[in-house]
């Protein structure tokens, strides 16, 4: 745990972004383990769990079920992709390259808040999905020992996977006894992620009574696509509320802390974000970033102006596609202007 000695609290809250050196583009190549055939699994997931930078309790939870490690990785990929999608027009484009991310997580920016929220949301989403894919050994009905489980399932079915996912994530990210403001804010933002997932649950029903009438109806809860969650979190990022003051670094008493953190569904941040214009600890700057003229070039390039390049682009067109795995397109050549920020 490289960052743990420095700050003391980050790894616990953010296993997701801390544990992998993840760029978002190559997440699958990081772990060659997944190409191993499952027969040899046995304890193979132990290795995977050990490779992740997890806390003791988290490692235990990871080892308990072979599906957890895989789900964690999927959650990271999903959150990272969504983050990059949501921030594609912003100065900070969610670069998750190791050093930048670690530094970012140590601070209390709006962006940090977003990262915390989307990672917890992503984990819940991925966990619910893993449950329904049968990837997890223990999903619902997990409280009781095996025999009781079977009885519970036969008697009354098991609770929905959503409830389990929520419980798991709450457990996994855990409550920390850290008394300082930032830990509280991070916790709050993590919970916002969970709440957004919860609020985005849709109830769908099916009637199957006599002749298909609605005398008997079964309803189930269904998660919205993760894109929706990302969109909502982005909105909350924009309305993020600043709390406390970053100048007062000494931990104030707990009572005061609770007063400082409003009961809100908004994301919270402690300090103002840097401009992200120039290369810094937190980002590589916006030099050479592609931008859209008349749309965000002025904002992204921080007033440094942009280069215009005119080039021929070949784009696929008049495609013939199948639902899976086959696209045959003509190549159409177009002249296109590409705008990049000046350094």
């Amino acid at each position: 745990t490289s960052t743990a000695p420095l700050t003391g609290y980050i790894p616990a809250h953010l296993p997701i972004f801390v544990c992998f050196r993840l760029t978002g583009n190559e997440p699958l190549s990081i772990l060659p383990l997944n190409s191993l055939p499952e027969e040899s699994v046995g304890r193979a997931h132990y290795k995977l769990c050990d490779r992740l930078k997890l806390e003791k309790k988290q490692r235990r939870m990871c080892r308990r079920d072979p599906g957890v490690a895989e789900t964690l990785r999927e959650a990271i990929t999903m959150s990272a992709q969504e983050c990059q999608y949501q921030f594609r027009f912003e100065r900070w484009n969610c670069t998750l390259e190791g050093r930048h991310r670690a530094n970012m997580l140590k601070r209390g920016f709006k962006e940090t808040a977003f990262l915390y929220a989307i990672s917890s949301a992503g984990l819940t989403h991925a966990m619910a999905k893993a449950c329904s894919a049968g990837r997890m050994e223990r999903c619902t009905c997990d409280e009781a020992p095996d025999l009781e489980n079977r009885k519970a399932w036969q008697w009354g079915g098991c609770g929905d996977n959503l409830k389990y996912a929520n419980k798991f994530v709450k457990d996994f990210l855990g409550k920390r006894s850290n008394k300082d403001l930032r830990a509280h804010v991070d916790m709050h933002n993590t919970n916002v992620g969970l709440k957004v997932i919860k609020a985005g649950v849709e109830t769908t029903c099916k009637c199957h009574g006599v002749s298909g009438s609605c005398t008997i109806r079964t309803c189930w809860r269904q998660l919205k696509p993760f894109h929706e969650v990302g969109k909502q979190l982005k909105q909350r990022y924009e309305t993020s509320v600043k709390v406390g003051s970053s100048t007062n670094e000494q931990a104030p008493p707990l009572l005061q802390l609770n007063e400082q953190i409003p009961r809100t569904m908004n994301l919270l941040h402690i300090e103002d974000s840097p401009s992200f214009c120039r290369p810094s600890k937190y980002s590589s700057g916006t030099a050479a970033r592609k931008c859209y003229k008349d749309k965000n070039c002025d904002a992204i390039c921080c007033g440094r102006g942009h280069n215009t390049q005119s080039r021929e682009v070949t784009r696929p067109c008049q495609c013939q596609v199948r639902w899976c795995c086959y696209v045959e397109c003509k190549q159409c050549t177009q002249r296109e202007e590409v705008y990049t920020c000046k350094g």
């Binding site: 008697w155 009354g156 005398t215 079964t218 309803c219 696929p316 495609c319 639902w323 899976c324 696209v327």
Partner: protein, 532 residues
């Protein structure tokens, strides 16, 4: 001529009977609410994408999504295109149930709903009226090691009803369409422990099969089955109720045969109502635990259909026999106009049910709603049945109105008499209200949370309503058979009393109406009050 028990019973006894019935009713609700779990469970399944590597295989091979001998999986279709895998080689595999669990005959039925996650792509949009063709097979086994045995295999078409809520621009690529649920499979018995579904979406450009269905990201299924606990409670209830109704039925019929006159129409109808109730009650479902009877679902529908049409006929005849006009009734043929719509309506529903659940006996993937012709046909049946229901309702309302008019018309000549009768009609209306009040919440309540927390207890509202309403109908039939059975109190002298009490106009009626005529306790009581 004998009056019914309800007329010869003292008020005190009536109240006692009422209270006992109410207690049983409360008990029926409590059995469902406190003992039984929720009636059904919905389980989510996400299909695993397997790759069928060997081409032109002879025997069917089954692909397992997890566990030992699992298939070669791909995570996403991007991976598939990189590996040059074709659409025809991708198999969506779903194992029911999830790991570490097993299905049981107590689950009674299983229905599966299909949902596609389709991402929006500018150059690969869902075409209007797109049909998706699925090549689906379902297999079962009863232990975790043996081979899979095929249960059914079919090519099915389903209409994709999807819409994209945001604007169709490049920026929104990758967002999902919102698609309607597709009915997928319905099995009337769960005789095996493990089920495996293998779904393919074959592409044939020439025949336009599965072309223009967008970019499918995932296939999700929702499996619904009845909960084992609920089934047990339900069976217990049925097993308890069958003899109760049977005994009262025998007792009722014995009383009728003891009389010197042949039974009148209303008595026969009440008896028929008892028979149809018993028909529902008989717990033949016990056999579904041991035998693989897939027709149980259809059989249940038929039984319910018979009971409800019997009940509706009973109400009409009950009203008709209380019409105080001079017409001679007491024949079933008189009521053909009112009973006709009931019979025709239920016949329509029966045909519809046969088309849906009947065909599902041979092909569990069949759905009448899948094809346009089928949908129109189904809608036609349902609309005709609806029209019949409206007609029936109009007739019934008209009859109730007539009854009231007649009563008020005769009030001047027979003040006390009409009062007594009106009480009966009020009883009828009460039972109507009871019906509507109890039938509506059963639909309404399920919209809300399935359970309430009440202190430490969790009350399963849905289950409570199912057992409550089932209990209610049983009690209703029980009460009617008990209260309208001929009384043999004062067997000899009531003929003269009737004659003495009624005016000449009503003597005609006594030949047809056995139970309302004659001074009842209530009438006597109200009469006394009037005197005072």
């Amino acid at each position: 001529m004998a009056g019914a028990i309800i007329e010869n019973m003292s008020t005190k006894k009536l109240v006692i009977v009422g209270v006992i019935l109410l207690l049983f009713q409360a008990f029926a609700f409590m059995v469902g609410g406190l003992i039984a779990p929720s009636p059904t469970t919905a389980v989510h399944y996400l299909a695993i994408k397997c790759v069928d590597t060997v081409k032109h295989r002879q025997e069917a091979k089954w692909f397992m999504p997890w566990g030992p001998n699992q298939c070669d999986k791909i995570r996403s279709f991007d991976e598939a295109s990189a590996k040059m895998i074709e659409a025809n080689n991708i198999v969506f595999a779903v194992h029911i149930p999830l790991p570490d669990k097993e299905m049981s005959p107590w689950f009674q039925f299983m229905l599966v709903i299909l949902q596609f996650d389709i991402a929006f792509k500018m150059y690969n949009q869902i075409e209007d009226g797109a049909m998706v063709t699925v090549d689906v097979g379902v297999a079962y086994r009863d232990d975790t090691v043996s081979e899979w045995t095929e249960m059914a295999h079919s090519y099915e078409q389903r209409k994709l009803n999807c819409n994209f809520t945001t604007s169709k621009t490049f920026e929104n690529e990758g967002r999902y369409y919102e698609c309607d649920l597709l009915p997928f499979m319905e099995v009337g018995s769960v005789a095996h422990k493990y089920y495996l579904l293998n779904i393919r979406l074959p592409v044939n450009e020439r025949k336009k099969i599965n072309v223009g269905i967008g970019e499918i990201k995932d296939v999700r299924l929702v499996g619904i089955h009845q909960n084992g606990g609920f089934t047990k409670v339900w069976f217990a209830m049925k097993t308890f109720l069958t003899p109760s109704i049977l005994i009262i039925m025998i007792w009722y019929w014995r009383r009728i045969t003891l009389m010197t006159r042949p039974p009148v129409l209303l008595e026969k109808v009440i008896f028929a109502l008892g028979i149809s109730m018993t028909f529902i009650n008989i717990p033949v479902e016990w056999f579904s635990i041991g035998f693989n009877w897939t027709w149980m679902l259809l059989f249940g529908d038929i039984r319910q259909g018979i009971f409800y049409s019997m009940l509706l006929s009973f109400w009409i005849i009950f009203c008709g026999e209380h019409l105080m006009d001079q017409t001679e009734r007491n024949r079933f043929s008189v009521y053909w106009k009112q009973v006709g719509p009931i019979v025709f309506g239920s016949f329509c529903l029966f045909i519809f049910d046969m088309c849906e659940r009947g065909v599902q006996l041979t092909n569990p993937f069949y759905s009448i709603w899948a094809s346009d012709v089928g949908t129109e046909l189904a809608m036609a049946f349902i609309i005709v049945a609806g029209i019949c229901a409206c007609l029936y309702f109009l007739f019934l309302c008209f009859m109730v109105f007539q009854v009231f008019r007649n009563i008020s018309g005769k009030r001047t000549s027979l003040p006390a008499m009409s009062k007594a009768r009106r009480l009966h009609y009020e009883g009828l209306i009460f039972s109507w209200k009871e019906f509507t009040l109890c039938a509506c919440p059963s639909i309404f309540v399920q919209v809300n949370e399935g359970h309430w927390h009440w202190g430490e207890h969790t009350v399963q509202v849905n289950s409570a309503f199912f057992t409550g309403i089932y209990g209610m109908w049983n009690l209703y039939v029980f009460a009617i058979m008990f209260l309208y059975a001929p009384s043999h109190k004062r067997y000899g002298d009531d003929q003269s009393r009737d004659a003495a009490a009624n005016s000449g106009e009503d003597i005609q009626l006594t030949t047809t109406i056995t139970h309302v005529d004659g001074p009842t306790e209530i009438y006597k009581m109200t009469g006394k009050e009037a005197q005072e």
